[in-house]
Protein backbone atom coordinates (compact mmCIF):
# COMPACT_ATOMS: atom_id res chain seq x y z
CA UNK A 1 0.00 0.00 0.00
CA UNK A 2 2.70 2.46 1.04
CA UNK A 3 4.72 1.64 -2.07
CA UNK A 4 1.73 2.50 -4.22
CA UNK A 5 1.13 5.79 -2.46
CA UNK A 6 3.02 7.91 -5.02
CA UNK A 7 0.70 6.54 -7.68
CA UNK A 8 -2.48 6.93 -5.68
CA UNK A 9 -1.70 10.39 -4.38
CA UNK A 10 -2.51 12.23 -7.63
CA UNK A 11 -5.83 10.41 -7.75
CA UNK A 12 -6.59 11.36 -4.17
CA UNK A 13 -5.67 14.99 -4.86
CA UNK A 14 -7.81 14.94 -8.00
CA UNK A 15 -10.76 13.52 -6.08
CA UNK A 16 -10.36 16.21 -3.42
CA UNK A 17 -10.22 19.02 -5.95
CA UNK A 18 -13.15 17.58 -7.91
CA UNK A 19 -15.25 17.48 -4.75
CA UNK A 20 -14.28 21.04 -3.86
CA UNK A 21 -15.11 22.37 -7.32
CA UNK A 22 -18.31 20.33 -7.49
CA UNK A 23 -19.56 21.95 -4.30
CA UNK A 24 -18.59 25.34 -5.75
CA UNK A 25 -20.73 24.80 -8.85
CA UNK A 26 -23.86 25.03 -6.76
CA UNK A 27 -22.96 28.43 -5.34
CA UNK A 28 -24.21 31.67 -6.82
CA UNK A 29 -21.15 33.76 -7.73
CA UNK A 30 -23.22 36.93 -7.45
CA UNK A 31 -23.91 36.62 -3.74
CA UNK A 32 -20.85 37.97 -2.02
CA UNK A 33 -20.41 37.43 1.68
CA UNK A 34 -20.66 40.74 3.50
CA UNK A 35 -17.67 41.77 5.57
CA UNK A 36 -19.98 43.95 7.64
CA UNK A 37 -21.78 41.16 9.47
CA UNK A 38 -21.45 41.72 13.24
CA UNK A 39 -20.12 45.21 12.61
CA UNK A 40 -21.96 48.28 13.90
CA UNK A 41 -23.88 50.22 11.27
CA UNK A 42 -21.80 52.87 9.56
CA UNK A 43 -22.55 56.49 10.40
CA UNK A 44 -25.62 57.36 8.32
CA UNK A 45 -27.20 60.79 8.17
CA UNK A 46 -29.63 60.60 5.29
CA UNK A 47 -31.96 63.35 4.21
CA UNK A 48 -35.68 62.61 3.99
CA UNK A 49 -37.24 61.86 0.62
CA UNK A 50 -39.74 64.34 -0.79
CA UNK A 51 -42.98 64.38 1.21
CA UNK A 52 -41.46 63.09 4.47
CA UNK A 53 -40.33 65.04 7.47
CA UNK A 54 -37.69 62.67 8.78
CA UNK A 55 -34.75 61.05 7.08
CA UNK A 56 -32.69 58.27 8.57
CA UNK A 57 -29.75 58.45 10.95
CA UNK A 58 -27.83 55.62 12.57
CA UNK A 59 -29.35 56.30 16.00
CA UNK A 60 -32.83 55.61 14.57
CA UNK A 61 -31.89 51.98 14.09
CA UNK A 62 -31.00 51.36 17.72
CA UNK A 63 -33.36 50.15 20.42
CA UNK A 64 -35.07 47.28 18.62
CA UNK A 65 -34.47 44.68 15.95
CA UNK A 66 -35.32 46.10 12.54
CA UNK A 67 -34.92 45.59 8.81
CA UNK A 68 -33.06 47.99 6.59
CA UNK A 69 -34.09 47.59 2.97
CA UNK A 70 -32.24 49.13 0.02
CA UNK A 71 -34.63 50.00 -2.79
CA UNK A 72 -35.05 52.20 -5.83
CA UNK A 73 -37.89 52.99 -8.17
CA UNK A 74 -35.60 51.96 -11.08
CA UNK A 75 -35.11 48.48 -9.60
CA UNK A 76 -37.32 45.79 -11.09
CA UNK A 77 -36.55 43.23 -8.39
CA UNK A 78 -37.59 45.77 -5.73
CA UNK A 79 -40.97 46.04 -7.38
CA UNK A 80 -41.24 42.25 -7.30
CA UNK A 81 -40.37 42.28 -3.60
CA UNK A 82 -42.61 45.20 -2.73
CA UNK A 83 -45.98 43.38 -2.22
CA UNK A 84 -44.33 41.12 0.34
CA UNK A 85 -42.96 44.08 2.27
CA UNK A 86 -46.51 45.51 2.33
CA UNK A 87 -47.75 42.22 3.79
CA UNK A 88 -44.95 42.23 6.33
CA UNK A 89 -45.87 45.75 7.37
CA UNK A 90 -49.53 44.73 7.72
CA UNK A 91 -48.50 41.82 9.94
CA UNK A 92 -46.52 44.28 12.06
CA UNK A 93 -43.82 41.78 12.91
CA UNK A 94 -40.79 44.02 12.61
CA UNK A 95 -40.17 47.66 11.65
CA UNK A 96 -38.92 48.06 8.08
CA UNK A 97 -36.73 51.03 7.30
CA UNK A 98 -35.71 51.94 3.79
CA UNK A 99 -32.85 53.55 1.94
CA UNK A 100 -34.08 55.03 -1.31
CA UNK A 101 -31.01 54.44 -3.41
CA UNK A 102 -29.77 56.47 -6.37
CA UNK A 103 -32.89 58.16 -7.64
CA UNK A 104 -32.05 60.44 -10.56
CA UNK A 105 -35.21 62.39 -9.96
CA UNK A 106 -35.96 63.34 -6.34
CA UNK A 107 -39.64 62.57 -6.83
CA UNK A 108 -39.18 59.15 -8.48
CA UNK A 109 -38.97 57.28 -5.15
CA UNK A 110 -41.93 59.06 -3.50
CA UNK A 111 -44.04 58.59 -6.66
CA UNK A 112 -43.19 54.89 -6.71
CA UNK A 113 -44.29 54.56 -3.05
CA UNK A 114 -47.48 56.53 -3.68
CA UNK A 115 -48.35 54.16 -6.51
CA UNK A 116 -47.48 50.86 -4.79
CA UNK A 117 -47.87 51.68 -1.10
CA UNK A 118 -45.29 52.59 1.51
CA UNK A 119 -44.13 49.83 3.89
CA UNK A 120 -41.31 51.87 5.45
CA UNK A 121 -41.21 53.36 8.93
CA UNK A 122 -38.29 55.64 8.11
CA UNK A 123 -36.69 56.34 4.76
CA UNK A 124 -33.38 57.97 3.98
CA UNK A 125 -32.45 59.26 0.54
CA UNK A 126 -29.13 58.14 -0.91
CA UNK A 127 -28.85 59.78 -4.33
CA UNK A 128 -25.06 59.46 -4.68
CA UNK A 129 -24.62 55.92 -3.25
CA UNK A 130 -22.71 57.18 -0.22
CA UNK A 131 -24.76 55.09 2.23
CA UNK A 132 -24.99 52.15 -0.19
CA UNK A 133 -21.19 51.99 -0.46
CA UNK A 134 -20.79 52.41 3.31
CA UNK A 135 -23.08 49.37 3.67
CA UNK A 136 -21.22 47.38 1.03
CA UNK A 137 -24.31 47.19 -1.16
CA UNK A 138 -23.76 45.70 -4.61
CA UNK A 139 -27.29 45.80 -5.98
CA UNK A 140 -30.91 46.31 -5.01
CA UNK A 141 -32.83 45.02 -3.24
CA UNK A 142 -30.68 44.13 -0.27
CA UNK A 143 -32.00 43.79 3.25
CA UNK A 144 -30.03 44.02 6.47
CA UNK A 145 -31.20 42.75 9.82
CA UNK A 146 -30.05 45.22 12.47
CA UNK A 147 -30.11 44.19 16.12
CA UNK A 148 -31.21 46.37 19.03
CA UNK A 149 -27.66 47.61 19.56
CA UNK A 150 -27.45 48.85 15.98
CA UNK A 151 -25.18 46.02 14.82
CA UNK A 152 -25.60 44.46 11.36
CA UNK A 153 -26.42 40.81 11.93
CA UNK A 154 -27.51 39.53 8.54
CA UNK A 155 -27.64 40.60 4.93
CA UNK A 156 -30.04 39.20 2.38
CA UNK A 157 -29.29 39.85 -1.28
CA UNK A 158 -32.22 39.90 -3.68
CA UNK A 159 -35.96 40.12 -3.13
CA UNK A 160 -37.42 38.68 0.06
CA UNK A 161 -40.20 36.19 -0.57
CA UNK A 162 -42.58 34.63 1.93
CA UNK A 163 -40.54 31.45 1.82
CA UNK A 164 -37.21 33.18 2.43
CA UNK A 165 -38.77 35.27 5.18
CA UNK A 166 -40.24 32.37 7.14
CA UNK A 167 -37.27 30.04 6.70
CA UNK A 168 -34.32 32.39 6.93
CA UNK A 169 -34.97 35.92 8.08
CA UNK A 170 -37.74 35.57 10.68
CA UNK A 171 -35.84 32.95 12.73
CA UNK A 172 -32.89 35.37 12.87
CA UNK A 173 -35.14 38.23 14.00
CA UNK A 174 -36.64 35.98 16.69
CA UNK A 175 -33.22 34.83 17.87
CA UNK A 176 -31.95 38.42 18.08
CA UNK A 177 -35.03 39.46 20.04
CA UNK A 178 -34.37 36.77 22.62
CA UNK A 179 -30.90 38.32 22.86
Amino acid sequence: MLRRLPYLLPLIVLAGLAGYFWSGLGRDPNTLPSVLIDQPLPELALAPIAGRERGLVTADLKGQVSLLNIFGSWCVACQAEHPFLMQLKAEGRVPIHGINWRERDADAGPAWLRRLGDPYTLIGADPDSRAAIALGVTGAPETFIIDAAGVIRYKHIGPITRDIWEKKLWPIVERLRRG
Partner: protein
Amino acid sequence: MADRRAFAARLIGALLAVLLLAPVLVTAASAVEPDEIVADPAIEARARAISKGLRCLVCQNESIDESNAELARDLRLLVRQRLQAGDSDQAVTAYIVSRYGDFVLLDPPFKAATYALWLGPLAIAAFALGFVFVFYRRRAGRSEAAPLSADDERRLAKLLDRNDP
Protein backbone atom coordinates in the same frame (compact mmCIF):
# COMPACT_ATOMS: atom_id res chain seq x y z
CA MET B 1 -19.32 45.64 -62.92
CA ALA B 2 -15.76 46.71 -62.16
CA ASP B 3 -17.18 49.53 -60.10
CA ARG B 4 -19.13 47.14 -58.05
CA ARG B 5 -16.13 44.90 -57.47
CA ALA B 6 -14.00 47.85 -56.37
CA PHE B 7 -16.74 48.89 -53.98
CA ALA B 8 -16.94 45.38 -52.50
CA ALA B 9 -13.16 45.29 -52.08
CA ARG B 10 -13.21 48.64 -50.30
CA LEU B 11 -16.06 47.52 -48.07
CA ILE B 12 -14.22 44.35 -47.11
CA GLY B 13 -11.07 46.36 -46.48
CA ALA B 14 -12.92 48.74 -44.22
CA LEU B 15 -14.56 45.91 -42.30
CA LEU B 16 -11.20 44.20 -41.83
CA ALA B 17 -9.70 47.43 -40.54
CA VAL B 18 -12.50 47.79 -38.02
CA LEU B 19 -12.11 44.18 -36.90
CA LEU B 20 -8.34 44.56 -36.51
CA LEU B 21 -8.65 47.85 -34.67
CA ALA B 22 -11.52 46.82 -32.42
CA PRO B 23 -9.41 45.10 -29.74
CA VAL B 24 -7.07 48.10 -29.60
CA LEU B 25 -10.00 50.45 -29.11
CA VAL B 26 -11.65 48.22 -26.54
CA THR B 27 -8.57 47.88 -24.34
CA ALA B 28 -7.97 51.61 -24.45
CA ALA B 29 -11.49 52.40 -23.32
CA SER B 30 -12.17 53.71 -19.87
CA ALA B 31 -15.59 54.45 -18.51
CA VAL B 32 -14.52 57.67 -16.81
CA GLU B 33 -16.80 60.37 -18.13
CA PRO B 34 -15.77 63.99 -18.65
CA ASP B 35 -17.93 65.27 -15.79
CA GLU B 36 -16.20 62.92 -13.34
CA ILE B 37 -12.66 64.10 -14.06
CA VAL B 38 -11.23 66.38 -11.40
CA ALA B 39 -9.29 69.54 -12.20
CA ASP B 40 -6.07 68.50 -10.48
CA PRO B 41 -4.26 66.13 -12.89
CA ALA B 42 -2.20 64.60 -10.07
CA ILE B 43 -5.35 63.59 -8.15
CA GLU B 44 -6.99 62.40 -11.36
CA ALA B 45 -3.97 60.18 -12.11
CA ARG B 46 -4.04 58.73 -8.58
CA ALA B 47 -7.78 58.15 -8.87
CA ARG B 48 -7.31 56.34 -12.19
CA ALA B 49 -4.60 54.14 -10.71
CA ILE B 50 -6.75 53.25 -7.68
CA SER B 51 -9.81 52.64 -9.86
CA LYS B 52 -7.92 50.19 -12.05
CA GLY B 53 -7.27 48.00 -9.03
CA LEU B 54 -10.87 47.94 -7.77
CA ARG B 55 -13.38 45.40 -8.98
CA CYS B 56 -16.75 46.54 -10.19
CA LEU B 57 -19.23 44.79 -7.87
CA VAL B 58 -21.91 44.66 -10.54
CA CYS B 59 -19.99 43.18 -13.48
CA GLN B 60 -17.26 41.59 -11.34
CA ASN B 61 -14.72 41.00 -14.11
CA GLU B 62 -14.14 44.65 -14.88
CA SER B 63 -12.41 47.27 -12.82
CA ILE B 64 -14.45 50.29 -11.81
CA ASP B 65 -12.27 52.25 -14.21
CA GLU B 66 -13.64 50.27 -17.16
CA SER B 67 -17.18 49.64 -16.02
CA ASN B 68 -20.19 51.61 -17.12
CA ALA B 69 -22.27 50.38 -14.18
CA GLU B 70 -23.72 53.14 -12.07
CA LEU B 71 -22.27 51.71 -8.88
CA ALA B 72 -18.83 51.82 -10.53
CA ARG B 73 -19.39 55.46 -11.42
CA ASP B 74 -20.41 56.28 -7.86
CA LEU B 75 -17.32 54.47 -6.56
CA ARG B 76 -15.11 56.43 -8.96
CA LEU B 77 -16.64 59.67 -7.71
CA LEU B 78 -16.14 58.57 -4.11
CA VAL B 79 -12.46 57.79 -4.79
CA ARG B 80 -11.98 61.26 -6.28
CA GLN B 81 -13.80 63.01 -3.44
CA ARG B 82 -11.77 61.18 -0.83
CA LEU B 83 -8.51 62.03 -2.59
CA GLN B 84 -9.54 65.68 -2.85
CA ALA B 85 -10.35 65.64 0.85
CA GLY B 86 -6.73 64.66 1.46
CA ASP B 87 -6.90 60.90 1.93
CA SER B 88 -3.87 58.82 0.94
CA ASP B 89 -4.19 56.18 -1.80
CA GLN B 90 -3.97 53.47 0.85
CA ALA B 91 -6.70 55.06 2.97
CA VAL B 92 -9.07 55.23 0.01
CA THR B 93 -8.48 51.61 -0.95
CA ALA B 94 -8.70 50.52 2.69
CA TYR B 95 -12.08 52.23 3.08
CA ILE B 96 -13.55 50.42 0.09
CA VAL B 97 -12.04 47.10 1.21
CA SER B 98 -13.58 47.66 4.67
CA ARG B 99 -17.00 47.88 2.98
CA TYR B 100 -16.74 45.15 0.36
CA GLY B 101 -13.94 42.87 1.55
CA ASP B 102 -10.79 41.75 -0.26
CA PHE B 103 -12.97 40.60 -3.13
CA VAL B 104 -13.08 44.18 -4.37
CA LEU B 105 -9.32 44.09 -5.03
CA LEU B 106 -8.43 42.79 -8.47
CA ASP B 107 -4.99 41.87 -7.12
CA PRO B 108 -5.76 39.74 -4.05
CA PRO B 109 -3.50 40.39 -1.02
CA PHE B 110 -1.13 37.74 0.30
CA LYS B 111 -2.53 36.79 3.71
CA ALA B 112 -3.72 33.77 5.68
CA ALA B 113 -7.06 33.54 3.88
CA THR B 114 -5.42 33.63 0.44
CA TYR B 115 -2.41 31.35 1.04
CA ALA B 116 -4.16 28.56 -0.83
CA LEU B 117 -4.74 30.89 -3.77
CA TRP B 118 -1.15 32.04 -4.02
CA LEU B 119 0.69 28.94 -2.87
CA GLY B 120 -1.66 26.26 -4.20
CA PRO B 121 -0.31 26.26 -7.77
CA LEU B 122 3.29 26.25 -6.49
CA ALA B 123 2.50 23.36 -4.14
CA ILE B 124 0.88 21.38 -6.95
CA ALA B 125 3.84 22.08 -9.26
CA ALA B 126 6.32 21.04 -6.54
CA PHE B 127 4.33 17.88 -5.93
CA ALA B 128 4.25 17.05 -9.63
CA LEU B 129 7.99 17.64 -10.00
CA GLY B 130 8.66 15.48 -6.96
CA PHE B 131 6.52 12.75 -8.40
CA VAL B 132 8.32 12.85 -11.76
CA PHE B 133 11.70 12.85 -10.00
CA VAL B 134 10.86 9.82 -7.86
CA PHE B 135 9.32 8.02 -10.82
CA TYR B 136 12.36 8.43 -13.06
CA ARG B 137 14.87 7.62 -10.35
CA ARG B 138 13.03 4.39 -9.63
CA ARG B 139 13.00 3.48 -13.28
CA ALA B 140 16.70 4.29 -13.66
CA GLY B 141 17.45 2.13 -10.61
CA ARG B 142 15.48 -0.76 -11.99
CA SER B 143 17.24 -0.83 -15.37
CA GLU B 144 20.66 -1.14 -13.75
CA ALA B 145 21.59 -4.82 -14.33
CA ALA B 146 22.68 -7.00 -11.45
CA PRO B 147 26.18 -8.51 -11.95
CA LEU B 148 26.12 -12.04 -13.41
CA SER B 149 26.81 -14.93 -11.15
CA ALA B 150 29.54 -17.44 -12.02
CA ASP B 151 26.84 -19.82 -13.19
CA ASP B 152 25.33 -17.21 -15.52
CA GLU B 153 28.78 -16.41 -16.92
CA ARG B 154 29.32 -20.05 -17.85
CA ARG B 155 25.90 -20.31 -19.52
CA LEU B 156 26.53 -17.09 -21.42
CA ALA B 157 29.93 -18.29 -22.65
CA LYS B 158 28.34 -21.54 -23.78
CA LEU B 159 25.58 -19.73 -25.70
CA LEU B 160 28.04 -17.37 -27.36
CA ASP B 161 30.27 -20.34 -28.33
CA ARG B 162 27.36 -22.16 -29.86
CA ASN B 163 26.33 -19.20 -31.96
CA ASP B 164 29.82 -18.73 -33.33
CA PRO B 165 30.14 -20.19 -36.74
